[in-house]
Symmetry: C2
Subunit: 292 residues, 2 copies
């Protein structure tokens, strides 16, 4: 994955600091395909979109819509997988010209689950974890600042990036990018955000402004569109909702974003392909039309 020079310099510096602190855990690393033509970023798929589908059917759908990156969910590759099973997973992906570029979102309650997730990512061979580090309070998952310090130790140990997923006004931890930044601003910059632009807006926070404001800490993006800037907002096909996609695309470029815009299409779980195809088509149409 290409990086902005600024991010590269910071990441390299952080890497040196980590090397001085603890030995890095080495892992075979996934190689990403080229980004979208003329862009620094990629188009990908959040595995959650295909939560009711087998891996092979998911990959067939991705091939159909010409999407080459997949963020891996546990129902397609269990958290308990062996390295051999992970290798077989990647081999299956290769048949469809798809690369599993990261894992998650993974909810992690307590240090042991954080540790398990990092070791999972190592076995899978990816350098990006999308996660929700939390604790239980009154049976509800809530933010856990102490656990974030533990995540930071593991980020340094494994030299991985950890993107905390924001989940809007649904009584889950980390509603917006801004709320995440209040908690991670002083931590290793490899701890960042998976900016879910739909949930961010449903919490009343503009995802385009937050993308620009926190650009150096946006490690992954969930692309979607929603019907309203409130808890009642539902996911719809990209272009049918209220997010200004051309403005979002211009912000991606201004931010120098070099990660994946991974479509998370929650609608039509039993038959998502038409909505996925329309969303990807719309996004690529906007990309094309807004290039000089």
């Amino acid at each position: 994955m290409t990086m902005t020079r600024r991010a590269f310099v910071r990441r390299a510096a952080a890497g040196l600091a980590a090397a001085a602190a603890v030995p890095t855990v080495r892992a075979a690393s996934v190689v990403l395909p080229a980004p979208e033509p003329g862009e620094k970023f990629h188009i990908g798929m959040a595995g959650y979109t295909f939560r009711k589908f087998t891996l092979e059917d998911t990959l067939k759908a991705l091939q159909k819509v010409d999407v080459r990156l997949l963020c891996i969910k546990d129902f397609h590759l269990p958290l308990t997988c062996t390295e051999a099973e992970a290798a077989a997973f990647h081999e299956t992906c290769r048949k469809y010209n798809v690369t599993g570029y990261g894992v998650g979102p993974i909810y992690m309650v307590g240090e042991a689950e954080v540790d398990a997730a990092f070791d999972y990512a190592r076995r899978v061979g990816v350098k990006l974890i999308v996660g929700v580090p939390c604790k239980l309070a009154d049976k509800r998952r809530v933010e856990d600042t102490a656990l974030l310090r533990h995540v930071e130790r593991r980020v340094r140990e494994y030299d991985m990036r950890y993107a905390i997923h924001n989940h809007g006004p649904d009584n889950l931890p980390y509603p917006t990018a801004g709320e995440i930044m209040k908690l991670i601003g002083d931590l290793d910059p490899r701890i960042g955000i998976c900016l879910d632009i739909g949930h961010n807006l449903r919490s009343g926070a503009c995802p385009i402004e937050e993308l620009l404001r926190y650009r150096d800490r946006i490690h992954d993006i969930h692309l979607k569109d929603v019907t309203a800037a409130s808890k009642e907002g539902k996911t719809v096909e990209v272009g049918r909702g209220i997010i200004d996609i051309p403005k979002f695309v211009r912000a991606l470029r201004e931010a120098g974003y070099a990660g994946s815009c991974s479509l998370e299409f929650e609608k039509d779980a039993d038959d998502p392909v038409a909505g996925v195809a329309e969303s990807i088509g719309y996004f690529r149409g906007v990309l094309r039309a807004t290039r000089a």
Copy 2:
């Protein structure tokens, strides 16, 4: 359907001339839904895309991708249908928020088939026929200038528009818009072109230039994308081929085009929905991104 003022004035004048010549055949006329937001033109579907599907399954697919206009092919409503059958057809379409706005393409060999097509359109209640008036020569369909005069008589009699479909370099009559204009330039302006932008380009003629040049005679458009500006060019999802869709969209606006851009997606006849959805999404993404 809205019209440019120029087209309206010409059509009105032609209507007066026709009224003086022969009595107009009256028919219940289909009312079109609103055009695309901010545009004068509509997005529609060429029935041929769903040639392997029942009407109901076609309409379900159109509803899924939010397309509200259908150019009716004979396999969805036979040329021999009664007015009652046509009314039942429209009733079915209404259930899915779809309007059958025209009929065709219909190949018409000789005057009797032209007459049958006009009477079909009258029974269906549409004011637009997409047709290919031709004769047989060595078992091959070829252009027929004498038959065009007959079409002109019927156009005046029925006060309908007749859009001749251009079919590129495939040994079928009327390869390009320019070739059609050589034959119809002096005829009643209600005789015009269904500009198939893919086939036009496959014949080496730029569909964007021809749209602008013959704007007053473009009565329907087949939207598609192709892989090459030659006979070898194949239909692909809009945005994956070589047609400059943003430039095409700007030309539609410059031309004041107020008809339908009807997707004709020849690929994946057995399972076209993903390609259709991607194409419609791409086109709408370009529309959105190129609006001021």
